[in-house]
């Protein structure tokens, strides 16, 4: 019997241990993600035998096109708005002294811990015709007729932006916090004004956080359901609602599955495309 290199044996044992440690998570993922998604995909091409009928329907009927179009448009609007609103917040949180950063972050995180349903209803109270916003505007004489702020696409966008803002601020903050202050000082010492150093030094270094936030928010908006259901007035039909209607109203699980698969593929495509520009680990703020 030849002696095995002890370092190799050690490495093997370590690998075995790692596998063992990872196994609960792997089992959970297989049971809760891989199997259901596999089932979803099977169902989308099966109805008394193999069929592409569901996909043909999706690509030929205009309600699906319109819902996909609307969903992507809302996702785009929400993403841009959260970035515009979130960037200054994250910047402030990363630059102020304690305890102000904690205060800012808790303002971001507290609503994050409140139920989406509660926040959606809160927006309803704020934005409806007889709501706080309209009453204030009327009292100050800024408007004579209540504005249609809710039960439409606008209401959906406002509430979604609010709900998803933490998903933009947090990755931005984690990236910005790691940017060494000395770099800014160095930029300033070389004669760059504040704006110039920001644009040439800080902004490029914060980009991984920006991309991470954009991706998270965009992808999460694509799957939004409760918010458009409550604040969309029944006209803002996002793709998740098409899925639910197919099941509830039409009892067509195949069609619902096919829509789900198309959405999943779209999301994966986005992740891959983004991953080519910025590696995933960098995007999630690990490096």
């Amino acid at each position: 019997m030849t002696a095995i290199d002890p370092s190799l044996r050690y490495r093997r044992r370590e690998q075995g241990l790692m596998l063992l440690l990872a196994s609960p998570a792997v089992i959970v993922i297989v049971a809760l993600v891989v199997i259901p998604v596999g089932w979803l995909m099977t169902q989308s091409v099966y109805e008394n035998g193999f069929t592409l009928e569901h996909y043909r329907r999706i690509f030929s009927e205009d309600i699906y096109w319109r819902s996909f179009g609307l969903t992507f448009r809302i996702a785009l609007m929400v993403t841009v708005l959260t970035l515009v609103l979130g960037y200054p917040v994250a910047y402030a949180a990363a630059h102020v002294k304690r305890p102000w950063d904690v205060l800012i972050l808790s303002f971001v995180i507290l609503p994050f811990w409140t139920s989406v349903l509660v926040r959606a209803y809160a927006w309803l109270v704020l934005l409806q015709r007889t709501g706080v916003t309209n009453q204030m505007l009327e009292r100050f004489g800024l408007i004579s007729e209540p504005l249609a702020l809710v039960h439409n696409e606008l209401g959906t966008v406002i509430a979604t932006v609010h709900i998803l803002l933490p998903f933009m601020v947090l990755p931005l903050y984690s990236t910005m916090q790691k940017i060494p202050r000395e770099l800014m000082l160095a930029g300033a010492s070389l004669g760059g004004g504040p704006l110039h150093t920001f644009l040439r030094v800080f902004l490029p270094l914060s980009l991984p956080g920006v991309v991470a936030g954009l991706t998270l928010v965009f992808v999460l908006t694509l799957g939004f359901y409760i918010t458009p259901e409550l604040l969309g007035g029944g006209r803002t039909i996002m793709i998740s609602m098409v899925v639910s209607r197919n099941v509830e109203l039409y009892n067509q699980w195949g069609a619902a599955s096919a829509v789900g698969v198309v959405l999943l593929v779209a999301v994966l495509a986005i992740f891959l495309a983004v991953g080519r520009i910025i590696p995933l680990d960098k995007m999630l703020g690990q490096k």
Partner: protein, 354 residues
């Protein structure tokens, strides 16, 4: 309402356990069913009026679950081959469709004498009507304070010149197509088979004036109460609940669409014989007469009106009371589960979106 369910289950379990320990009749006490309804005030009312008295009389345990949309779950429960639900209280069209799709037990009405005595159109091979509600026109009394000048018909609802204001309809074709046709002049007893093209054409007319297409009953009531809309098609119980709270709203049964939920039993239900016993008890005239004492929905068993349990003044407020039923249209669930009905349902989403 998971907390409530938990307490019911715990209470039942505790009761069962103590009975098992104390009583030699433990085998009988173990008889139980899982009953599923839609939750909220409605399920609370039927628990007091029907479920608890039935459980007591039959000596069984009725476990409860509540789901707003039971239909997809009914199908998947039966598809697994091991359903956990026995009796489901669901809109009648789902019972008819479930019967067609083979996911419900065919009922032997010789074992359900109470149902056998009800009018034939109130039951199918797979279901028994359980309670009646109505899709009525509700309106704000702030906007239309004068009873004489208030909207009274669906034609008035559609008449945006004579009755200016914001409106809301349900984001669902059932009852909405019926209302559109009545607005277009079709008499209530000549609605079926529905002229679907005509109904959608009429709906296009009102569409620009619909502020919200509501999706839940609670939402419809809130819209009216908050002044978000001035006129709404809603279930009678939702609007009458508002009036009881003192809200300035009213409704009319005139041209209401009378609808029902029915009880049906899932195919392969774990406690089938007990479920059938319960079905008979649930439509017992006295239990049925108890229901409107707790909520504004009407009994499905017409004999309930002969029991003397419902005060005369109360009868007048109920959707299924003979005088009110006369001015309404009775929804044909048979039509809605036909091919034409299902095709009409499928048109809805594209209509709502455009």
């Amino acid at each position: 309402m998971p907390e409530r369910r938990l307490t019911i289950r715990t209470a039942c379990a505790a009761a069962g356990l103590s009975l098992a320990l104390l009583s030699p009749l433990s085998a009988q006490a173990a008889e139980q069913i899982m009953f599923v309804s839609q939750g909220g005030a409605y399920q609370k009312a039927q628990t007091i009026a029907i479920l608890d008295p039935s459980a007591k009389k039959l000596g069984i345990t009725i476990n409860q679950d509540s789901v707003p949309d039971a239909w997809p779950i009914m199908r998947s429960q039966v598809a697994t081959g091991k359903p956990t639900w026995d009796v489901v209280d669901v809109a009648t069209n789902f019972c008819l469709r479930g019967g067609e799709q083979g996911i419900l037990e065919k009922l032997d009405f010789s074992k359900i004498p109470n149902a056998a005595a009800m009018p034939a159109e109130y039951r199918s091979d797979y279901s028994v009507a359980y309670e009646f509600y109505s899709s009525v026109m509700g309106y704000s009394l702030k906007k239309f304070p004068d009873a004489a000048a208030a909207p009274k018909t669906w034609a008035d609802f559609w008449d945006v010149k004579k009755f200016p204001g914001r409106r809301s309809l349900r984001n669902h074709p059932l009852a909405t197509l019926e209302a559109a046709l009545m607005a277009d002049g079709v008499p209530a007893d000549k609605l079926y088979p529905l002229d679907v093209d005509r109904a959608f054409k009429k709906l296009e007319e009102i569409k620009p004036h619909i502020t919200v297409w509501w999706t839940s009953g609670a939402q419809s009531a809130q819209l009216l109460n908050d002044g978000e809309v001035d006129m709404v098609m809603a279930w009678n119980g939702r609007i009458s609940a508002l009036t009881k709270e003192g809200a300035k709203v009213a409704y009319t049964y005139n041209q209401g669409i009378l609808q029902s939920t029915s009880l049906c039993v899932l195919k392969g239900a774990p406690n089938l014989p007990t479920a059938i016993k319960f079905l008979n008890e649930a439509v017992d005239p006295v239990h049925q007469a108890n229901l409107p004492l707790h909520i504004d929905y009407g009994p499905a068993n017409p004999k309930a009106y002969d029991t003397g349990v419902i005060p005369a003044a109360r009868v007048g407020e109920l959707p299924s009371a003979p005088a009110n039923a006369k001015v309404q249209a009775l929804m044909s669930y048979a039509w809605w589960t036909s091919a034409a009905g299902e095709a009409a349902e499928k048109r809805w989403l594209s209509f709502a979106q455009k």
